[in-house]
Every structure is written in C-alpha cells, then in structure tokens.
Symmetry: C2
Subunit: 457 residues, 2 copies
Amino acid sequence: MANISIPKGTRDFGPAIMGKRQFILNNIKSVYQQYGFLPLETPAMENLSVLTGKYGEEGDQLLFKILNSGDFLKDADAELLNEKASKKVTQQIAEKGLRYDLTVPFARYVVMNRHEITLPFKRYQIQPVWRADRPQKGRYREFYQCDADVVGTTSLLCEAEIICMIKSVMHRLNITDYTIKINHRGVLAGLADIADAKGKEVALYTAIDKLDKIGEEKVKEELMDSDFTAEQCNNIFNLLNYKGSNQEKFQYLKQTFEHSTSGTKGINDLLQVFSILDSLQESDAHVEFDVALARGLSYYTGCIFEVKVNNVKIGSISGGGRYDNLTQSFDSKENLSGVGISFGVDRIFDVMEELNLFPKETTQSSKVLVAFLDEESMHYAYGIVANIRKHGIAAELYPDFAKIKKQLDYANKKQIPFAVIIGEEERKLNKLALKNLESGEQSIVDMAGLIQLFKHS
Amino acid sequence: MANISIPKGTRDFGPAIMGKRQFILNNIKSVYQQYGFLPLETPAMENLSVLTGKYGEEGDQLLFKILNSGDFLKDADAELLNEKASKKVTQQIAEKGLRYDLTVPFARYVVMNRHEITLPFKRYQIQPVWRADRPQKGRYREFYQCDADVVGTTSLLCEAEIICMIKSVMHRLNITDYTIKINHRGVLAGLADIADAKGKEVALYTAIDKLDKIGEEKVKEELMDSDFTAEQCNNIFNLLNYKGSNQEKFQYLKQTFEHSTSGTKGINDLLQVFSILDSLQESDAHVEFDVALARGLSYYTGCIFEVKVNNVKIGSISGGGRYDNLTQSFDSKENLSGVGISFGVDRIFDVMEELNLFPKETTQSSKVLVAFLDEESMHYAYGIVANIRKHGIAAELYPDFAKIKKQLDYANKKQIPFAVIIGEEERKLNKLALKNLESGEQSIVDMAGLIQLFKHS
C-alpha cells in the first residue's frame, strides 16, 4: 500500500477541485459557443509521424511515446539494441505518441477533413495534453488546454472578436484587474528594420520578450552579447520606451515605420482591429499595445496576444495569435491562415484561488439531504427524496440507518446546504423540518413550500 | 499528405458528432448529480504497478504502455534485449500505462485519499479509457466510460437508486423500449447449489451468460462439454425457464433455494431492492429479474445489472453491480463494499442514431447569422451582432465581405437556424430582416422584437 502513487507531474481532481475547474471550463466554453465556435475532440494518441518535428527538437524529446503492442522487439534492429541506441530504437518500437498540444491535431484534422469542412472553420477544443517536462510548481505532465481557432480567413474581425471573448471570459470569472497585451509580428519586423538588425531578428525578439521579467539593463546586455551596438540598443529602446495611449503609440510608430513595409502593415492591422473593436461596441479598456510582446519563437505571423492578471505573481493565463501556415507541414498545396486563442486552466485556477474569486457554490453537491430520526422515518424519507428529485432538485439520503448527527456530518462534509429532518411528529403532521446547515436556522414547511424555496434559490 | 492518418481504433469527433455525444453525456451527468454523485477525474496515465494484474492476463496484454523518457535502454538488461524478450523488456523500459477502465483508478484514488474522503463516497467519472484491442465495428481503442459508484455502504438503497438513475437517463434520452435486467451473484450461487455444480461455477456462469446469444441447446452442449450431466442440465433449465412476473419468480426461487444460504440471501436482497423501489415511488416497469444474467467473470459479489434496448441489434448499453473488494488489491486492511453503474456512450450513440432519437438541435451552433448586403452594412452588422450577444444569444458574422448567397450557405452548413439580413433600407429604417433558414419565411423586426423571439425559442 505504501507504494501506491500516481505518475509524477499528474494529478487527481477530487470533487471540490473539479467543481472549481468545471466553473472555469464551462464559462470558457459558453463564451466560445456564443461567438459561433463549435466543439472538436481528437484522440489522445496521434501517430508519431504527425507529431514529430512540429515542436522543435526539444519538443520531440518531450513527447510521451506509446510502446507498440505485442512482440514489439521482433523487428527491431539487433545491432541498435545491442548499442542501446535509445533514440533510434524508439522509432522502431513506438509508432504512436500522446498529443503535445491541440494545434497540431487540429491542423491534422483540418487537412484530413478538408472537403467536409465549411470555411471559415471556427472550432474550440478543450482536452488534456501531455508533456514529459520536468514537473515543478505550476508545471504538469498532464494539463488541459482550451483552444479556439478560426481558419480559412484573414479577416481582422477574428482578432477583434478574440479580444471580446477574452474580456467576456474575464468578466464571467470575476477577474477585473488584468491586461490584454497585443502586438503584431509586423511591428517586430519594423523594429528590426529600424534597428538595422537584419539576420539577427531571433536574437532581438528573444531578448525583448524578456523585458518584463529581467528589465532594460539585462535585455541590453543580452543584445550586446548578440553583437548589437550601443546605438542599435538605443534605437530599440527609444522605440520601446515611448509612453502614451494605444492610439498615440500607433501614430508614433506609423511615422517611425514610414520606410518599413512590415512595420506599416503591422500598425495598419492593429489600427483596424481597434476600429472593429469600437464597431463591436467594445472599449479598448484592458487592451494594451505592447511593442515588446513577442510570444517566443512561435509560428505566429500577424497579431499576437497575451493576457496577464495584474498584481499576481503568475505568468500569462492566455495567449494566441495569427499564423499563416497551420497546415503547411501536412499539405503543401494549400495554406490556410488562422488565428487562435488558448486559455490555461491551471494558471487561471491558481489566480482565482489567490484572489479568492471562486463563487461559494462551485461544488455541484445536492441541494438537500433528507435525514431521519428513526427507522420508520427512514422509509418515509424515501418518498420525500423521490418527490424532491421529481422537481429537478438534486437531493440525497444517507443510505444506512444512522444517528442524526452522523447524517448531518455527512451533509456538512459534502457541502450540502440544507437538511430536511423527518421524525414521528413530521410524519404525523405531514410537514418537514427544514434546517439551513450553514446558519443553523430551522423552520417547518410543507412539500410545496420546500419545492418553491429550492426552485428560487 | 497521403499518409496522414489517426491511429487505428481511434476517432475524431467533429462538431455534429460532438453535439450528439454532449447531449448524451450531459444528460447522464445531470442524472448523476441529481442523485448526489460528485465528479472525479484521474490522470490518463497510471503507474503500471497499479494497473497490472487487475484485468486478468488478457487485460494486461491490452494495456497501452508508455515508453520511459530519456535514455530508456540504459538500464535495460542486455541479455533480454539480445533475446528480444519483449515481455520482460517491457517491465524495464515502461513504467506507466494508459488507464484501461475507470474502476481501478477510482479504487486507487479511494485508497490514496482514504482519510479525506467522506464515506459513503458517491463519485461519478466521465473520461476516456484505452485498450489495445483489435478494432472492429463498435469496438474502439479509445472510448469514453461514464461511471457512478457508491463505496462505503452495503445499503440496498444504492441498488434501488441505480435503477432509478437508469430509468431517468433512458427517459431523458427518449429511449422508451428497453429492459433493465437484474440478478444477484447469490442467486447464481443458489443455481450452482441446486445443480450440484460445486467447483464448476465458472463453467456454469459462463455458459448461461450466453443464453441470450446462442440459445438453450448450445448452452446445454457447452455445459455437457464441461461434464455436466443431462440431469444437471435439466435442473438448471427448469429453473431458468420458469416464467412469471418478477414477484412470482422471487417466490418460486425462495422455495427452490430453501436449503441454499447464498440463494436465499440473493432473493432476499432482490426483494428488498424492489421494495425500496416501491418506496421511492418507482414502478418496476422495464425491470426484469433474469436468473441467467451473469456479467461474465467479473468481480461482482451482489446485485448485477445490465441494460438492453429492445428490438435493436446492439449489445447492452449499461451494466454494473455490487462488489465487496474494490480496494482489496491495494489495501489488505480495509475492504469497502461498493456498487456502481457504467454507461457506454458509443453504444447509446449507435442506438439513438438507429432509432432516430436525437433531438433536432444537438449541434450547439449560433442561433443567428448577421448577414450584410453591402460593405457599409457589414460595419453596421458589427454593432448588431454585439447587441445580440449581449443578451446571451449565440450569434456570428461571416468574417469577410462576401455575397449574401455565400453567407447564407455558410449559415446552412453550420445549421444556424436564422439569419438577420442588413441592407441600405434596414439601416435607414433601423429595422432587421429576419429569415428563418429552414422554412424560408421572412419578416421585419426591430432589435427588441428579435431578442424577445430568441429568448423564448
């Protein structure tokens, strides 16, 4: 018994945690649906030929691989086995892996079902993913992703709607102090143009992406290490340090990028997104144009987003952007442009716990426990609980004959808010003693009154 | 591109299928919650030490095993590798496997969290499981199970409530012609006593479990092959062939089992379950006491259930029963009795498709597409769609400027039931042209009227 455990980096979610997680997931799902996204689920296992090479070399290492069934060593190369060449042997004994994210399976689905899909295709997908990362606080080997993507259109309405969806999710989750950072890959390219950093874009983006975390001095040091001159650094930070409203920044950069095609395209796209936001009757409150936002070295090609809850030491809770080559790795003939957003449930959970934002009743427990004082009342209670349930109200009985204290303890531990207590007197009078288990308040009601009460609570 | 595929035995669930599956799952979940069951989720991966030996030798073969990360061959035995001894090497290179069912992870959870759990513990769990079975029609390598179990009580109220839950699920799914078969392991033991089959119980149960499929003659042949005499066979079938109501069968068997302790216990339990059902105001319609029901060689020790939809060539869609040693394999100190039920989503799906039982609107598409006739109307439409969404109604826009036909085609393909069409006239008059996309009916409404209409549809 002492050695029973679950794999490191994985978790069980008991009823209390599940209630809170479902609160988050249901709200995200509702918002996605309200904007016309439809659900998709793909298998946990994908062929390794689909997964490999999509996440860089490090990603390939982090894929969980599934051993082929049966006599898997039969056709393995004897020499490689003898050399214990793990990497090369893997390819011979494992054909499948667990999905690493929801984007690659989505791209695979789109390519495989291209002719049945109506474009633009708006799908949401809420499923676990697996990564053989070193587990640590806030980083797990199994965790949920909640993605929504539109593919098959370059319309910037999609970007504006993603901002609306983020705001709607935050509102539903009672998160009020947050920032939606937005930038554009074109703006970053413009910055590289201004800094004369051709060929060193990767170093530039990687360095400034850390500005939030390590500060200006360290970013400059990193840039110098990558052979940027002091003048280049100054040009970069003159631009990054420009303060003003979103619109002021747009105007400033529009001038600055006068000779940069990419930069101009970036600013024009962003201006249009903000204009559509306005048409959608959505203010730009919470939305901050941040030239330093780079979202790593990911596959984004247009607008990029990141959501950060302010005054909480937890990284971004959501991120996304536009990509132009989702299906390229599968299908060279057609390239669908798409834009997507992903919410991180685990981080949102941590933020909401820290800020105490969960509503009181996330555990979906019964509304009422029907308790009994004697054995005859127990049988009588069966009819009562059946009656309550017929009205669509979740109710239960302690299944064994037990003292009332034990029954009420059970209700308290399950966070059942009310108890109906039945004894000889209640049976005779055809009444119910209703106890509020939180306040201790007690009253006498009849069945109709009880149903009324729960229907309106 | 030609070689893109998903692992055999697995499936993608696109929007249409997802809508139907969610309809089934949401109804099962609601019923579980109404009876006081709380949600649990466990990781997809379990340590193989937890899974192995729980499902018989065949089950162990069907476990999907996950290759250890990193240089997994380093500590593997060179000689075993040289011999290509797949089975023995597996233990050295794979520590984790994918869960095979939800029962073993549940038992593992109960043992690991024994001190935080309130007994009786009622949990439901809806998650996929994986089996490396040979894929065939209706049998998949990844499929969902929907389990509800109560552990920590021997109360027969639980059995009666399970029957109520099954009936409630069937009712919500519009399945009307079905049979809930119930039996008891004690009754089977009684049958073995009557047939003088001590030591041959397994052969007896296995044979009669097939009665439905292969008929009396073949079952008799099988019994003869297992050294049952003709007289024993006659005794068995005299009992199995007894016709009558449930209560008549109970009375008949009560007499027949006069000298069988197990048989008497079985009948008494069943009588009590039916009596509680009565107290719960639930008739025994659809419930059939079936002495031949054995549920394979599973770990059940008390009542057993199986649900079959009549006049449909699909196996049972639900099954379960009572077990007395759920946690035994993990924890010898304590043995919790429990009883559970499991619904098979895939079979329910097939039944509902065959009987055409899905409601028309399971796809959770938008209620309305806001369409536009010209570019100015497109911008105007942004405000309209925002307004509709503010009232909690799912709405969307075609994101690119396109001809009205293309927009309506999009709505039709996504099964969006209504379109609001905006042109110059509508803008001027501040009205909306509302089109029912199924009937083709068209009318002029204002925003307030539109909201009214959707709030009540």
